[in-house]
């Protein structure tokens, strides 16, 4: 009798042990996953300082072989991805394909961040995120060429990097899911995919640098980048999971938040027969110097320019001294009215740079005396120099710009003045 009871107890304990062991294993896995997610989100918050390389879901080096041969889902994955697993046209085969694919996101800003969230949540096996703010682009070229990702997402913010990514993808035969956004507009295209065009087919010539508006100068509504970033994630998932949409039609999707309809789809043709890089007889066969090609750097901020001599400029502190002494003058603020409304210096006259040639008489009318000096200010001290050059052609007397604009004014003179 006693031995029978012992045996029952023993079996019960054994069962309990086995259960606890399983549970322990599951908890360990969960902790590992959460740790990975934490690393991912921490790195995402640091995009401004250093180039970051984030690999979510799986650790790249140690798990690469596992990634390639992974043909099963864990119990937890069935549960987590249940809602997409039951999608006709996606299913378990789609999920496994995602699990075994790698996607590279270039740019971790307004487009890249939402794209990354949805791609990670969908269960993409390996996700690389690169964000370079002030690192030389030569580094980036190497990264992209040697990256083993099968799909690249262009979530960058400047023209030079867009041409670089296009060429890198054409040369290595990878589809490029390209998204862009500015102000209230966005564009989405998959380049170099299933016989479709590349970026150069549609835009062979980069726009002249002075005509390019970046988000820093032009502004952008966060949700506009969010919409496009999510759509980029969607297209990348469709490619990675081999989901079959109508693969024969290539399109450029245009999103205009202020227009009706919000979305328009432009049907594209196949690749351009004489495209310099993706045609059958390319003239470009290696990566180029894209900063030189575009005439602008891989930045989304306008670099400071110096167009005027020191005698044509006044620093904010000296200008402040002149104001406190009540020396008669006119201060012209050449920013757009929408920016002037945000903040401005008392007494300044708002004439946007592009209206300046037509409105010189306004300045003349405001002059307290014909000999009074004219000072020009803008946000950062670039446009104000152009304005001085414009005015000197039509006005006599002292015309100077305030060095560094309102940005420097806020730093050097008035700490309470808003910087935006």
């Amino acid at each position: 009798m006693a031995s029978q009871t012992d045996k029952n107890d023993y079996d019960t304990l054994l069962e309990l042990y086995s259960k606890l062991k399983d549970e322990n294993e599951q908890l360990k896995n969960r902790v590992k996953e959460l740790e990975n997610q934490l690393i991912c989100s921490q790195s995402l918050t640091n995009v401004n300082s250093k180039p970051i390389h984030v690999h979510s879901n799986l650790d790249v080096k140690s798990e690469t072989t596992k990634l390639r041969n992974n043909n099963t889902l864990s119990l937890e994955e069935y549960l987590r991805y249940g809602r997409q697993l039951i999608l006709p046209g996606f299913g378990i085969s789609g999920q496994l394909k995602l699990k075994n694919k790698s996607i590279l996101i270039v740019g971790a800003g307004g487009l890249g961040a939402p794209a990354a969230i949805y791609l990670a949540a969908a269960g993409v096996g390996k996700l690389g995120i690169i964000d370079y703010d002030s690192v030389e682009s030569s580094n980036l070229q190497r990264q992209i060429i040697h990256n083993e990702s099968r799909t690249v997402i262009d979530a960058t913010d400047n023209v030079a990097t867009r041409y670089l990514l296009n060429d890198a993808c054409v040369l290595t035969g990878k589809p490029l899911v390209s998204g862009s956004a500015l102000r209230m507009d966005g564009q989405l295209t998959v380049y170099n995919y299933r016989g479709g065009p590349c970026y150069r087919c549609l835009f062979p010539k980069p726009p002249p640098p002075e005509s390019i508006l970046n988000c820093d100068d032009g502004g952008v509504l966060g949700v506009v980048t969010g919409v496009i970033g999510c759509l980029q994630a969607l297209q990348a998932i469709k490619i990675a999971a081999d989901m079959n949409d109508d693969g024969t039609s290539h399109s450029l999707l245009i999103f205009s938040a202020n227009s009706n309809p919000l979305f328009r789809s432009i049907k594209l043709r196949s690749k351009k027969p004489d495209c310099v890089i993706c045609s059958d007889h390319p003239t470009i066969t290696t990566l180029q110097d894209y900063v030189q090609f575009c005439g602008s750097g891989a930045l989304d901020k306008s670099p400071s320019v110096k167009l005027l001599g020191d005698d044509e400029r006044i620093d904010p502190k000296s200008y402040y001294a002149l104001r406190t002494k009540c020396i008669p003058h006119v201060l012209v603020d050449v920013r757009e009215p929408v920016q002037f409304d945000i903040c401005n210096l008392p007494g300044s006259l708002n004439i946007p740079l592009n209206e300046l040639p037509r409105k010189v008489d306004l300045i003349q009318q405001s002059l307290p005396s014909t000999a009074a000096p004219v000072y020009i200010i803008c946000r950062r001290g670039n446009d104000s120099q152009l304005a001085v050059q414009t005015l000197k052609k039509v006005l006599q007397g002292e015309i100077k710009d305030v060095v560094g604009g309102l940005y420097r004014w806020a730093k050097d003179v008035d700490r309470e003045f808003p910087i935006y």
């Binding site: 960058t156 500015l182 102000r183 564009q187 549609l202 835009f203 010539k205 205009s256 049907k267």
Partner: protein, 89 residues
Amino acid sequence: MSKEFTILYFASARDAINISSEIISIPATSSSLSLQDLTNLLNNRHENLVKILENSMFAINMQYVDKDDESIMVKPGDEVAIIPPVSGG
């Protein structure tokens, strides 16, 4: 019959002229416009567009057209889209 076509301006093209669409008449002397004619016509109407048009993609009735293809004509009733590249993000 009216000889008008519609132009849609997107992104920087729209911002440069503050117009999102307009209806334009094909000059009385012709029944259609080549893309070069169209470019000249738009440049004359809107000085601010000149540089933008050089780097924009054109589409007729929501379909991409090759700007160098001289056989492509804009006909009455067409909807032409001017699509400059957007590069921010």
